[in-house]
């Protein structure tokens, strides 16, 4: 069934963002075949990450309209373009917004995960030629890509540098694979690779969304002794504790004291590692103040909106041995490290099930936006309807996730 669609455009369903902040519209689109170094993927499921929301709300560049958002997903290879040897049709893959070309100084170094061979840029289309593979069915009007993935569509085209193959030994349920595509990897990676949290450490996590909770998970896995979670939503305390938080601070409940004051008191001077997992420069400054003199590290993970003020660091404070570091994708090299996390899930060292709080069909995708913006979910898994590609007007085979979750 997959082979017969190769080399031809596929007509399928997409949730398109046409106007900033407006509900996505379900439309028919044509997805062009993959060019050289590209792979066309049938999405099995996708999830909503807050970065999608940040860009969905953005009126100006780097937001572009119309576009297909979404960057957290799991799928199956439908066909490959020329020069692609790494994956074949039928392979299970996870797309990642951050690339790994494998050849550039960054990919060759273990100090960096910021590929300079195919640098991360905000383009309307594919990373190598800037053109898009999406068009409205009928009119042929182009639809922009989103950060090298575009997963709110039944079929997408992704550059092979942005793809992770999960081989037969790493069969994890597609909704769990989807989490490794961005949020959870970012959080776990940050604790493991960027901070290198060591046993006995004290960690503070600002923002207990999926990324923050993944930081808590990752810190716990690294043997942190205290993991202080900070969130305005009191409901996050309970889920936080299940994910490894040892103490919880609600900034509205500190009796007027700054969160950094509370943390410094609790820890006798400040935390060893402070993670910002929201995308607020004001919170980043607070996180910095909460870090310990001498060796305190502040790790910035949150993506601020375009118009955000810069992070402001008191210059005398930084002289006292503190540092601030940021990362994309938690410092992880996608192809190298995502399979390691998948293995950790299979070995029951990494908890992923708790991140999935809701599931829905593709047609209900706007519900996911509501849940996330209202702070009522961690990850909503949006299941595609199955192989409903209409190349010839024929119906497709329905592929539904099995009860135990392994991929077909």
């Amino acid at each position: 069934m997959e082979q017969s669609t190769a080399k031809k455009p596929i007509r399928c369903k997409a949730a398109v963002s046409k106007v900033a902040g407006q509900p996505l519209e379900m439309v028919e689109v044509d997805v062009a075949p993959p060019r050289a170094h590209e792979v066309r993927i049938r999405i099995l499921c996708t999830s909503l990450c807050h970065t999608d929301v940040t860009f969905w709300r953005m009126k100006d560049f780097p937001a572009m309209y119309p576009s297909i958002l979404g960057h957290e997903a799991a799928g199956v290879v439908e066909s490959v373009g020329e020069e692609v040897v790494e994956v074949s049709p039928g392979d299970t893959v996870v797309p990642v917004f951050s690339g790994q070309c494998g050849d550039c100084p960054d990919c060759l170094s273990d100090r960096s995960n910021i590929c300079s061979g195919l640098p991360f840029r905000f383009l309307p289309g594919m990373p190598r030629d800037g053109t898009t593979r999406f068009a409205f069915a009928g009119t042929g009007e182009p639809i922009h890509n989103f950060i090298n993935v575009s997963s709110f569509v039944e079929y997408t085209v992704v550059d092979v540098a942005h793809l992770v193959r999960l081989g037969p030994g790493l069969m994890i349920p597609p909704d769990k694979a989807c989490l490794l595509s961005c949020g959870v990897s970012t959080g776990v990676g940050a604790a493991w690779k960027v901070a290198a949290v060591e046993p006995g450490s004290t960690v503070a996590v600002f923002g207990l969304g999926a990324v923050g909770l993944a930081v808590a998970q990752g810190s716990k896995m690294r043997g942190a002794k205290r993991i202080i979670g900070v969130d305005l939503n009191p409901d996050k305390c309970e889920i936080g504790k299940r994910m490894g938080i040892t103490e919880f601070i609600n900034p509205n409940d500190t009796g007027g004291k700054a969160v950094s004051e509370v943390i410094k008191e609790m820890t006798g001077g400040g935390a060893d590692y402070c993670f910002e997992c929201i995308g607020s420069t004001a919170v980043t400054a607070e996180a910095f103040s909460s870090s310990r003199m001498g060796w305190g590290k502040t790790i910035v993970l949150g993506v601020a909106s375009g118009a955000a003020a810069p992070i402001s660091i008191p210059s005398y404070e930084i002289l006292r041995g503190r540092s601030v570091v940021g990362s994309l994708f938690g410092g992880l090299k996608p192809k190298t490290d995502v399979p390691l996390l998948a293995q950790k899930y299979l070995d029951e060292e990494l908890e992923l099930d708790e991140f999935v709080t809701h599931e829905m069909g593709f047609d209900d995708i706007n519900g996911a936006f509501d849940l996330l913006t209202q702070g009522k979910c961690l990850r909503c898994i949006i299941w595609m309807d199955g192989a409903s590609a209409k190349e010839n007007g024929n119906g497709g085979v329905n592929v539904k996730p099995k009860q135990n979750g392994t991929l077909v």
Binding site: G294, W295, I311, I318, G326
Partner: protein, 382 residues
């Protein structure tokens, strides 16, 4: 000959500052004996560091007057207070503005050099009891600076801030290890851990910046880019290992960070800010390489302005860190740097560009503010 068992007050000369920004006046003062855990030092020579100038200019707290400035010096122990171990009269020592108690979590860890038991603070008095050891001719107290106050023939320093050095070190060289040279070399060697083949950019080619260059040189950096508004620093920089020079005024439309990014094909591996201006700290950050670029802040911000970091840029794997004293633990690392000097691996004599007797100490201030000197040695006995 002083009686070590019961030291007495000493009458001597000191350069006292009585008002912010005013020339120092050489006066007679009395230096009290060292209390418990303190060491009285006969200063042989001292030098002027820009941090002295920053606080000398400060009208408001923590600027206080009258004060004895100076924190870079070399001297000989004259007497010790109770409970002082490891030091005796006659020992060659350098005082340091940064303490090392050896007992707190920071002193015990290799990750930190900021002693948390005796925290660095700009205090008017001694660290343990906040009182002063200096009295002027009218019997009024004269305040300390960073617990060192080396612009005086004698001073009293807490034992956590005194480092024994090899007596074969020339005094003006030992003096440099007390602050500026150690801060710069330490920052490259210990804090940044510059590795062979790295590219380094240094903002501000004063003594600290050139010491960073010297440190980067001995660490094997392949490109050392110096940035300074003073064109004379180009020739001078070459003596310290600077391979490329940028004068921001001569770039035309281009910004300094654009120039550095071009020179290094994407940004420098390590960028050091050695002046103390938030705008330059931002420039240094912009000049660092995505993926692994580190920006190291050494300068003490002149106006207390905050450093501004664009958040999307830091997400691309960049890091900003700062330190006092180049990440160096005074008692552990100054002897190591002294050894590197004595076996000729580290060159320090080139930092000394002028010398004056104590009575001409204000000349040192003029020379530094006019950008005409690196380090001017101020001799007590000449």
């Amino acid at each position: 000959m002083e009686d070590n068992k019961c030291p007495k007050p000493i009458r001597c000369k000191a350069a006292v500052c009585r008002a912010a920004g005013e020339p120092l006046v050489v006066e007679e003062i009395v230096v009290e004996p060292p209390k418990a855990h303190e060491v009285r030092i006969k200063i042989v020579c001292t030098s002027l560091c820009h941090s002295d100038v920053t606080f000398w200019r400060m009208k408001d707290f923590p600027g206080v007057f009258p004060r004895i400035f100076g924190h870079e010096a070399f001297g000989v122990v004259e007497s010790v207070g109770e409970h002082v171990e490891g030091f005796a009269a006659g020992d060659a020592v350098v005082p340091t503005f940064l303490a090392q108690c050896g007992e707190c979590p920071d002193c015990k860890s290799s990750r930190s050099n900021v002693c948390s038991k005796y925290r660095f603070m700009v205090r008017p008095g001694m660290p343990r009891d906040e009182t002063t050891r200096f009295v002027d001719a009218n019997g009024s107290p004269v305040y300390h600076f960073l617990g060192v106050s080396s612009f005086s023939e004698y001073t009293v320093v807490d034992v956590t801030q005194v480092v024994k050095v090899d007596p074969s070190l020339p005094p003006p060289t030992a003096c440099l290890l007390s602050c500026g040279a150690t801060t710069g070399v330490g920052a490259a060697w210990k804090l940044a851990k510059v590795e062979p083949g790295s590219s380094v950019a240094i903002f501000g080619l004063g003594a600290v910046g050139l010491a960073v260059a010297e440190g980067a040189r001995i660490c094997g950096a392949s490109k050392i880019i110096g940035v300074d508004l003073n064109p004379e620093k180009q020739e001078l920089g070459k003596k310290f290992g600077v391979t490329h020079f940028i004068n921001p005024k001569e770039l035309g439309e281009k910004t300094v960070s654009q120039a550095i990014i071009e020179m290094t094909d994407g940004g420098a591996d390590y960028c050091f800010e050695c002046i103390g201006l938030a705008a330059l700290m931002s420039d240094a950050f912009q000049s660092s390489r995505a993926g692994w670029g580190k920006t190291i802040i050494l300068g003490v911000e002149m106006h207390g302005s905050p450093l501004s970091i664009p958040s999307h840029e830091i997400l691309h794997g960049k890091c900003v860190m700062g330190s006092l004293f180049g990440g160096v633990k005074p008692k552990d690392d100054i002897p190591i740097l002294a050894d590197k000097y004595l076996n000729k691996e580290l060159e320090l004599d080139k930092f000394i560009t002028h010398e004056v007797p104590l009575k001409d100490i204000n000349t040192a201030f003029d020379l530094l503010q006019q950008g005409k000197s690196l380090r001017c040695t101020i001799w007590m006995d000449k």
